[in-house]
Symmetry: C2
Subunit: 230 residues, 2 copies
């Protein structure tokens, strides 16, 4: 039985934009595992109620149900040790946690005020009220206010990428010569943006932009996904 | 013949504070290698001229001379594969580069305006003019101006530690259950501060502060070094 992944979708069912789901889609591609993705919207809580929680990614593997991108990535690694490793061996997992923490605490919050109005524009009609009210409550301001002055904000955003840029000036991928799950964690953030937003985040010659292209070139699942190449 | 490390010192020869030299002192302790450290001051350019450049750490291993903390750490790893690994195996090195980039681009620049006046106060008399003019030229303002409003700035500094904090809420060390060179890179920044500055950087119950204590508890070379426990 094929793996099933519940994957956040926009108004168009094939526009997938969750940075956390992208981590798993790339992890599955890395491990060369076939998957059937189920488009899921924020308000489809009952559709994943069987997972015991209300967020995607949710992965169903025959009798097993898993949620949370870190949990799923580690599950895939342990279940398929014969496939290409997501972490290049067990000890590496711990350092990947720092990449994940940086992504969740710096990259994704930095992307939010640059793309949130575009994410909203791509949502399914039924998700819009939920998305607006939940995000505006969290932010304390409207989506539009959060995304004001993007042209100025993007400079600060690019500045926060310095650790990533400095690393990618030294080596092709975070994981070295070849990408692994550490790369997919960060790249998932850029797929969130690419899937929803025409706003230009990076200069073409930025080492981060060149790395993004290298990953798009490697992963058809990402390159062929609906999105904006800015 | 013992290893010799040229190590940045303050007015007191045993006050060592370079975050880059600390990386190597901890790496040597990790590998249980004896070292003789030579106190060195910024203006002692001629004393390390044999290394072909003008900065510490410089490591002399019999006929070999090495400079640059990354180069030295990798040299030690390759020369002593039988000793505890600094990277837990070769593939991990690449991810450690991101930790290094984050430290150099975020942590150390964030510490600078909190401790620079205290670093200055601990310098050897002969280094003061050089340090002040080179740093003030780089910063575009006086050391005192750079360190103004520390009580406010420290909040922003603590905020930038979020990726580190989130990781250390999950696991004891960046490298997992046991520390390795990734931890020493970051901890070197905190040793820079501890060696020179009584300014309180962290709340006692901050996961980052607890990790700092765990490392001090493990490394006498750090715990017994002249410094401030704030």
């Amino acid at each position: 039985m094929a793996l099933i992944l519940y994957d956040l979708a926009g108004a168009e069912a094939d526009r997938r934009f969750s940075p956390y789901c992208w981590r798993i889609r790339l992890a599955l591609a890395h491990k060369e595992l076939a998957v059937e993705t189920m488009p899921w919207r924020f308000t489809d809580k009952e559709a994943i109620a069987f997972s015991g929680q209300g967020r995607v990614p949710v992965l169903v593997d025959a009798e097993k149900t898993l949620s949370g991108s870190w949990t799923i990535a580690n599950y895939l690694e342990q279940k398929h040790p014969d496939r290409p490793s997501l972490f290049d061996g067990r000890p590496r997992t711990a350092l990947t946690r720092f990449i994940e923490s940086w992504t969740d605490k710096v990259l994704l919050p930095g992307l939010m005020p640059l793309i949130l109005v575009d994410v909203f524009a791509h949502l399914h009609e039924k998700d819009r009220a939920y998305f607006r009210s939940s995000r505006e409550q969290r932010l304390g301001i409207t989506l539009e206010a959060a995304c004001a002055n993007r042209d100025e904000k993007v400079m600060g955003f690019q500045q926060t990428l310095e650790p990533l840029r400095a690393t990618l000036e030294i080596q092709s991928f975070l994981a070295g010569e070849e990408p692994n799950y550490a790369d997919y964690i960060v790249f998932g953030g850029f797929m969130w943006a690419r899937s929803t937003s025409p706003f230009k985040l990076l200069e073409k010659d930025d080492p981060v932009a060149l790395w993004r292209v290298r990953l798009l070139d490697r992963f058809e699942v990402a390159r062929l996904a609906p999105g904006y190449d800015t």
